[in-house]
């Protein structure tokens, strides 16, 4: 329980809560990288997923990409991109984007693919054209899966942004890296606890988001799917 007491003392230290190396500043950095990475990834993956899901083109490629990406070691991807592009914020964000695209893309693709064909027939029967079917029927129905993909990607991005401290940027990973360098176990554990909290908050945020965005008629479906 010694570890626990030291951890509490570490969090209670007012010096932790101010300045450029303080917990608020580090958390803000972490959130900033993660948000940037996730946003860029979503801007790439969601439109592509919608189009491939709607047209059915590239389904095999998407599936293969998903399997391949699942097998990729995240730290390998991060370190390779940083080594190729240099140290700094941009390579880190590129790596985060590369890791966040596959789950979002696959979930969007699958979400659109899995829309009941009877619904699509009904939409066409009502006189909707292709793009209308996509935006007014398939997208709303796919929202639960899309958000699921976004959540998965977000948690992954938050976790990987931690490792980004190894390549010399800020964020909560700094506590872990600096703690390791100083042989300061409490600092390492404090950083880990903060990352856990951030990941849990992220998960809750997306749970709230799906409550907000999923059409009421789909909610029972979404609940049973998860």
């Amino acid at each position: 329980m010694d570890v626990l007491n030291e951890l509490v003392a570490w969090f209670a230290d007012p010096g932790q809560w101010s300045g450029p190396g303080g917990i608020p500043a580090r958390t803000a950095e972490h959130v900033q990288y993660s948000l940037l990475g996730l946003l860029v990834a979503a801007l790439i993956a969601i439109p592509v997923g919608l189009v491939t899901g709607h047209t059915g083109v590239g389904g095999f490629t998407t599936a293969s990409l998903a399997n391949f990406a699942r097998a990729l070691p995240t730290i390998g991807v991060l370190f390779l991109i940083v080594l190729a592009a240099g140290i700094g914020l941009v390579p880190v964000v590129i790596a985060l984007v590369a890791l966040a695209v596959p789950p979002i893309l696959v979930n969007t693709h699958e979400g659109v693919r899995q829309v009941d064909p009877a619904l699509k027939d009904a939409a066409l029967g009502m006189g909707m054209r292709g793009p209308q079917v996509l935006l007014r029927l398939e997208l709303p129905v796919a929202v639960p899966l899309v958000i699921n993909g976004l959540r998965t990607a977000a948690v992954q991005v938050v976790a990987t942004a931690t490792i980004a401290a190894y390549v010399g940027v800020g964020g909560l990973g700094r506590y872990i890296v600096d703690g390791q360098a100083r042989q300061d176990l409490t600092m390492m554990l404090g950083g880990s606890v903060l990352v856990v909290l951030l990941a849990v908050v992220t998960t809750l945020l997306f749970a709230g988001l799906s409550r907000l965005l999923v059409a009421p008629g789909l909610r029972s479906l979404a609940a049973s799917a998860r």
């Binding site: 070691p73 699921n148 950083g191």
Partner: protein, 267 residues
């Protein structure tokens, strides 16, 4: 094109030259690959050993399932890198620091598949076994588990690929098999060849394990191969994301979660 070729052959040369150092088990690519496979396989097996009894309990006492599933999912939201560090005060730098979190992460995939697999055993099959005088234990081992096997193996495939790729993160606490190659040989020395070799071997190990599980399923469920139409549809272990329209919804052994690529990703 030539530059790419030179670069690739340079990477291969490095891997060959550093494959193993006789007399020094700590260095080289091969020992790292073995360590990686050991950490991943032990974690997956422990996860399976936990998921089977837990899944049975959840099928037997249905009210147990929602809270257990929620608990496993909450645990899954914890990033692996944080969990590895949080293990340090308890397990130090032993293999358990990597194995305990990895085994717990597999539960989020394995547990629902075990439960769904067992629940999908048709009632008439169960009743036939009862009528033949099978007791609960014998029925479980000789009838229900084999029928549930395709779904369980489908979960194992997703879990093993995810686990194998996650082992690398444990290199940050000094474990991590091929991750060590990526971190200490590659990144700390600003040298790309070990990183590429580490990534490629991790992916190859994941795909080889996946292929082994497919083979295991074919050997363990011979009835699924013979017998035409139904048999074909029983080949449930389509890797996540490869489910075609035809078997995504209709296959009785395919859970919605195991085949549609919408599985949670591991970090």
């Amino acid at each position: 094109m030539n530059a790419v070729w030179d670069w690739a052959s340079g990477v291969v040369d490095w891997a060959v030259a550093n494959w193993s150092h006789p007399g020094d088990d700590e260095r080289g690519v091969w020992p790292r690959l073995v360590e990686h496979a050991r950490l991943a396989y032990v974690s997956i097996l422990i996860g399976l050993a936990l998921a089977l009894p837990l899944g049975l309990a959840c099928v037997r006492w249905t009210r147990l399932y929602p809270p257990v599933l929620t608990g496993v999912n909450v645990l899954y939201a914890v990033p692996s890198i944080a969990l590895f560090f949080l293990m340090l005060p308890y397990t130090g730098f032993s293999d358990w620091t990597a194995i305990v979190p990895l085994a717990l992460y597999t539960l989020v995939i394995l547990l629902p598949n075990v439960v769904d697999g067992l629940r999908q055993v048709p009632e008439h099959v169960r009743q036939a076994a009862v009528a033949m005088g099978f007791g609960p234990l014998r029925r479980l081992i000789t009838v229900e588990t084999p029928v549930a096997l395709p779904v369980i193996i489908a979960g194992l495939r997703v879990a093993s690929v995810a686990t194998i790729s996650m082992v690398s993160v444990a290199s940050l606490v000094g474990l991590g098999g091929l991750g060590q190659l990526i971190l200490s040989e590659g990144f700390r020395r600003q040298f790309d060849a070990p990183i590429v070799v580490g990534i490629v071997l991790t992916v190859l190990l994941a795909f080889a394990t996946d292929a082994l599980l497919v083979l295991a399923q074919r050997l363990l469920t011979p009835w699924a191969r013979s017998g035409g139409r139904r048999g074909r549809r029983h080949r449930a272990a389509v890797p996540a994301g490869e489910a075609t329209d035809a078997d995504a919804g209709t296959d009785p052994t395919q859970t919605a979660d195991s085949g549609n690529g919408a599985r949670p990703w591991t970090s």
